[in-house]
């Protein structure tokens, strides 16, 4: 067990190192990074500015509460952009036969696919999310107790897992159909529109679907409801924020199973 963890970690770390080296191989990349860091903060603050001036209370949520919800959602979005953006490209991996090489190596294909690319540009999104989140914490007088910090950390990790699992599942459809781009675009839009606003502004059946079928509501809405003491319409026993990491893990396992099922249908590409 310990041996296995050591093995997978050493492989993952080497993949990360190669990802970093690859992205820094081109000088333009380094230059753009120098500009990127101030830009990261700039975008976040600019976005905040617009939000402060344009957001009206929505569905009974005040601006600080909306910013909190948005912040949690955007943080998990940013982290997903860093660690599992390659889910979006399963289609082109399938079309170009890129899984061939992974299938030839004595280690899980899903694992290789997951660690094969780390998108450092995604850090821009993380910074934007973090800025908005911290600012909203100040507005709602968030108490930085150990319990709350752990809760937030678990919610964000769970959110990242739910997001990337949903993309894995939907984009893996390409194993059967060769195409999944339109599905992905639809999903991406849907996720953006549903994690940034309170579910209570949508009809009940939409919330029902986004809770029990595609559990997007657990990424930011239910945790924010719990922490802010808002009414989330659907009531769960125990603290709701416990559900986010659990659902995250369950979704992740389902995603791996679905991916592996698809891989059996994989047809490579002619050479």
């Amino acid at each position: 067990m310990l041996e296995n963890i050591k093995y997978y970690t050493s492989v993952a770390l080497y993949y990360f190192k190669l990802s970093l080296q690859k992205q820094f191989e081109y000088p333009a990349m380094i230059i753009s990074c120098v500009f990127m860091i101030p830009m990261m903060y700039g975008t976040g603050i600019l976005l905040l500015y617009f939000m402060v001036h344009n957001f009206q209370p929505l569905g009974g949520w005040s601006f600080p509460q909306l910013a909190f919800l948005f912040g949690i959602g955007y943080l998990s979005h940013g982290l997903m952009m860093v660690f599992s953006v390659q889910n979006w490209w399963i289609e082109s991996y399938v079309l170009r036969g890129e899984f061939d090489r992974m299938l030839l190596r004595p280690i899980s294909v899903f694992f290789q696919f997951t660690v094969t690319y780390i998108n450092f540009i995604g850090l821009v999104d993380v910074m934007v999310g973090l800025t908005i989140f911290l600012y909203s914490c100040k507005l709602i007088n968030f108490v930085w107790s150990l319990h709350n910090i752990i809760t937030i950390a678990l919610v964000i990790i769970g959110g990242v897992l739910i997001r990337s699992s949903i993309f894995t599942i939907f984009c893996s459809v390409a194993f059967w159909t060769k195409r999944s781009e339109s599905l992905f675009l639809l999903l991406n839009d849907m996720m953006e529109r549903t994690t940034q606003y309170p579910m209570t502004i949508y009809p009940y059946f939409v919330q029902f679907i986004l809770t029990f079928i595609v559990p997007i509501a657990f990424i930011s809405f239910y945790p924010a409801c719990e922490i802010l003491g808002k009414d989330g319409r659907i009531v769960f026993p125990l603290g709701i924020s416990v559900y986010t990491p659990i659902i995250g893990i369950v979704m992740f396992i389902l995603a791996i199973m679905f991916f592996n099922l698809g891989l059996k249908k994989y047809e490579s590409a002619g050479s």
């Binding site: 080497y14 690859k22 061939d100 299938l103 004595p106 280690i107």
Partner: protein, 328 residues
């Protein structure tokens, strides 16, 4: 039990036929015309450890599909593959660690990074310990001069150098079986020579079984003791190269140069197929008369200045095999 067993292997692909024009596109959307294509049609063979087997066939014959099924990339529609008794489809991770695979048209090397980085990654993935890694790099340096290019970014390597890098990457974990899909494609004579030398060397030194698909008959002549010819998804020939030549082309040609013009040349076991003023082509069957016998017979009766024996052209022979209709 053979080292690699392929039994009744079949691979079918479903192809959708597209109709012409916008109307066709709409009608294809509602009534897609689908039909099955058998890329590999019920093939079986065994390969023993230490063999070098050439796998040849025209484009689209099913070579690559077969190689992809043997290595576990593609799942067969029917039939089975067993390497060392283990199926790469049911137990992928247990077997692929013992295989090395090189696709000539596609590199596994990290394009932007120095060659050594890919090696280091593979070292971790295949759990190669330091000693084995060092020994293998040393061995690969002897046959492929790998240290000469190990610090060069892959994108700056020539095609021949890149192929050397790919072969080395496939051999780092000392696989017992090496699959090479068109390893000499697009290479110059010198690079081809060094690749062929490498294949011979690792087969002799490490006992590695090699399966090679190629369009280059030079590869086949110089490397393969056994040849499998596949066409339209079926095996049309399987055996030692020599015996295939014997069977396909039992005839040789004897070209005789006469000292003076002569009419009506004749021999009971050879047939005159062509005559130029002083040159005569005799076609004879090796099993009926030996070349030496024929020469001595002829020289007794005719004024002969020079003779030469023409071996059959492998390329012509292979073309004949490709043209043969497949009986199904």
């Amino acid at each position: 039990m053979a080292f690699l067993e392929v039994e009744n292997l079949v691979k079918e692909f479903i192809v959708t036929k597209k109709k012409e024009g916008l109307r066709g596109a709409v009608s294809s959307l509602f009534h897609p015309e689908k039909f099955k294509v058998r890329a590999v049609d019920d093939i079986s063979f065994n390969i023993e450890q230490g063999e070098i087997v050439g796998f040849i066939g025209p484009n689209g014959a099913g070579k690559s599909t077969t190689v992809k099924m043997m290595t576990g990339i593609l799942h067969p529609t029917m039939g089975s593959v067993k390497i060392n008794g283990i199926s790469p489809h049911k137990n992928r991770k247990a077997i692929v660690g013992k295989l090395g695979v090189v696709f000539g048209q596609r590199t596994q090397l990290y394009w932007d990074l120095r060659l050594g980085e890919t090696f280091e990654l593979l070292k971790r993935i295949y759990r190669i310990d330091d000693k084995m890694y060092k020994d293998n790099i040393k061995m690969l340096d002897e046959v492929l001069n790998i240290t000469e290019i190990i610090d060069t970014p892959v994108r700056q390597l020539s095609l021949g150098q890149r192929m050397r890098g790919d072969l080395a990457a496939a051999m780092l974990h000392s696989p017992t079986m090496l699959f090479l899909d068109e390893p000499t494609i697009g290479l110059d004579i010198e690079a081809k020579h060094s690749i062929r030398n490498f294949i011979k060397q690792i087969n002799e030194r490490c006992g590695t079984t090699v399966i090679l698909t190629t369009h280059d008959l030079g590869d086949v002549e110089q490397l393969c003791k056994r040849l499998i010819v596949i066409n339209h998804g079926k095996i049309v020939e399987d055996g030692p190269l020599n015996s295939i030549i014997e069977r396909m082309a039992p005839h040789r040609y004897l070209v005789v140069e006469l000292a003076s013009p002569h009419q009506n040349l004749f021999h009971p076991y050879a047939e005159v197929v062509k005559t130029e003023t002083l040159r005569v082509w005799f076609k004879f069957d090796k099993s009926r008369i030996a070349a030496t016998e024929l020469i001595s017979d002829l020289s007794k009766t005719y004024p002969i200045r020079d003779v030469s024996v023409k071996e059959p052209d492998i390329e012509d022979m292979i073309r004949e095999i490709y043209k043969k209709p497949v009986i199904s």
